[in-house]
Amino acid sequence: MSGAIRLRDVTLSHDRHPAVHHLSGEFAPGSLTAIVGPNGAGKTTLLRAIAGLHPVDEGRIERPVERIALLPQMSALDRSFPIACLDVAMLGHWRRCGALGAIGRASRAQAEAALEAVGLGGFARRPVGSLSAGQFQRLLFARLLVQDAPVILLDEPFNAVDARTAADLLRLVRDWHGQGRTVVAVLHDLELVRREFPETLLLARDPVAWGATEQALAAANRLRARMMAEGWDEAAAACERAA
């Protein structure tokens, strides 16, 4: 469906403190990858950088595809915003419609079908403020369906949602994988990662492991990740490693 997303010695930072340190590798087209690691390990920052929302400090991110859909962490959004579910789903049409383009009957039907597919049929006119956390996450998945992008980035997609919602949404992720889309998800549930995700990137600021899930999650690596998460060193010198 598209070329690989290649990271070449990528460093991302907040205030010069690296959040992701000298990361190289690639997300192959059609791969299904989990990113795991302790809090503050740069997982969200990496996703945002791939989506073009965070500046790349050093190195390069090669994106041969033009459309990348990002599911943000739910807490980043104002869930009391006065907007109807169908309108949120239709935001997924932005690339095609822009600020002024007409939204035809076909586009509307597509958004309604997406709501149906995530189990929110009949919610079209409901304001998002009336949704539970799980329903809101379903709605954001509906928007992803409408976006129909070849690369999909998910930031903690199953956090704060009930088990049934998580199972339903996971089915969508499997469908995307089956359709040959590239899917990258930040996750915390290692059991889930083992079960469903063939590839894993274990990140703790420095990349710890990247490859087949079993190897990447081997116990030694997990231990190492915990040790490396000591975080922010006020006195840190400038990194000497060649860029």
Binding site: L53, P72, P82, I83, A84, G98, A99
Partner: protein
Amino acid sequence: MLYELLIAPFAEFGFLRRALVGCLVMSVAAPPLGVFLMLRRMSLTADVLAHGILPGVAAGFILAGLSVTAMSVGGLVAGLAVTLGAGALSRATGGREDSALAALYLVALALGVTMISASAGSVELTHLLFGSVLGVDDPALLMMAGVATFTLGALAFAWRPLVLECFDPSFAAAEGARGGAWHLLFMGLVVLNVLAAFQALGTMMAVGLMMLPAVAARHWARAVGGMVYAAVGIAVLASASGILLSYHLDVPTGPAVVLAAGAAWIVSVLAGPVDGVLARVMRRRHLAG
């Protein structure tokens, strides 16, 4: 009797008709902007802008006296400078935008008052600070009408990106929606409307017709569009009733209009169907499904 109360004042006095037209024109354009400001949690920004334009207005006043054109140009320059300056300042210092705005607004207000006091008397100062709804002349009226027309046209074009940018700015950025550019256009509209309102309500209350109806409208609708209609309706009501009240009770007109809008806000907080106090107290029986 009703004619005496509601129609006769306007039929009799030209300056009241002018005041009414001026306030109604503002009531159509400013409240929608207020709704967007509220949704972006920038309710205080408009107020800061209204104070921020004062040095520019004062400069225009010093150069050309109470001329609408000179004061508007000065105010426009100052308003845009404050908007861009506050944005740049908060990005550069990594601080929160609201603290930068608070600092700017205090400096601007003090500077403006100093400039005007140094070159004119307290009558002019009062006029600039508190406005004079009844003193709205033709140039001021034309400017208000022009600003309102432009605002409504621009909002019609910018509606979709503005809602998107309010609801999910990082989605907007990822999809290449140029949220920043739309935001800049929006802030430009706010500056223009504050300037127009300034002609009638003065620096201190210029945003009364922008923010109060918008905040009140939150209690009447669950969609952005509905909120905008409600806000415009409330502003129109507040304008007419404020002017009538000031005429019958012989109180200053600008504050009366803003007070009327304030009363509408209180009623909305109490009796509005969305998150209103009454709706919460008088719990109705739950629905069957």
